[in-house]
């Protein structure tokens, strides 16, 4: 991983985008077990239909994990200070998740140089699913 430095980064610059593999039912089953989120709405279509949904749908936190990969593909994880997202639409099964990030602010805080990123996730079907920001410390 090339070292990203504060001086080399400009506001408006975009991060290398990150695309997930398609979220199959198998991926949802694996994520259910691996994450400890056992809500059946993500893996059991009978349960989902009883709850009024047409099908199972992906865990929001699976898409947030893909956004985390966008960040850790750019800088080592220990440079992430704070980040958060709003889940704005459900991610349907079979979707691929496209993660993007853009530098929106450069500033100094707590004696270090930081940037604020605007981060977003969209499905390959064009649904905007997650929106948030991240504070990253840079050397």
């Amino acid at each position: 991983m090339a070292t990203i430095t504060y001086h080399a980064v400009d506001v408006g610059e975009t991060l290398p985008p990150h695309e997930s593999r398609p979220i199959t039912r198998h991926v949802l089953a694996l994520y259910c077990g691996a994450s400890g989120d056992h809500n059946p709405i993500h893996v059991d279509i009978d349960f989902a239909r009883k709850a009024g949904m047409p099908d199972v749908f992906a865990h929001g936190m699976l898409s947030m994990a893909y956004l985390a990969q966008l960040l850790t593909g750019w800088v080592p994880q220990d440079q992430i200070r704070q980040w958060g997202v709003r889940f704005i639409a459900i991610t349907p099964v079979h979707a691929k998740v496209l993660c993007t990030g853009r530098v929106v602010e450069k500033f100094e805080a707590d004696g270090e140089r930081r940037v604020r990123l605007a981060i977003d996730a969209h499905t390959d079907g064009g649904i905007h699913t997650l929106s948030g920001d991240a504070i990253i410390a840079l050397p």
Binding site: A34, S35, L71, W83
Partner: protein
């Protein structure tokens, strides 16, 4: 309408071990390509003392830890009507395989929107490691669909 008297409720501290196998399962489930998250030799070569927990894994630890109080169920919430509204993380010391993380969750707020069609539950969790160091804070906003 959800019982507002739960606002301010704090759960008893819950301890959970960060397991290597669980981290590898998480890496596989999320299609992780960076070997530091599943190959211990790669993790050590990158300066980690063992496999690091990836950025959202702190949320998983809260799901994996036993929750004896089960606040969501006590609020009468049907899991089929729950959506994740917001999630944020603030980090302290890094978390690695072998750590024991203690979590304490507070119900910070409960409110509704659209005339009660949606209920919101705000939960803040503090996480500390076996040395008493803060490893992070998480905020989770749960949305409950009514009707």
């Amino acid at each position: 309408m959800l019982d507002r008297s739960f606002i301010g409720l704090e759960t008893k501290p819950r301890a959970v071990e960060v397991e290597k196998g669980q981290l590898r399962s998480f890496a596989a489930a999320t299609g992780e390509k960076n070997p530091i998250y599943f190959d211990e030799a790669a993790a050590r070569a990158a300066g980690h003392r063992s496999l690091p927990a990836p950025p959202t894994f702190l949320f998983c630890l809260a799901s994996l830890a036993p929750d004896g109080e089960n606040v969501i169920a006590r609020l009468g919430v049907d899991m089929g009507r729950v959506l994740h509204g917001e999630q944020s993380f603030t980090y302290g010391e890094p978390i690695h395989a072998g750590d024991t993380i203690t979590l304490k969750t507070r119900i910070s707020d409960i409110y509704d929107k659209r005339g009660g069609a949606l209920d919101f539950i705000v939960q803040d969790t503090e996480a500390t490691n076996q040395n008493g160091q803060s490893v992070g804070l998480t905020r989770t906003v749960i949305v409950v669909r009514n009707g």
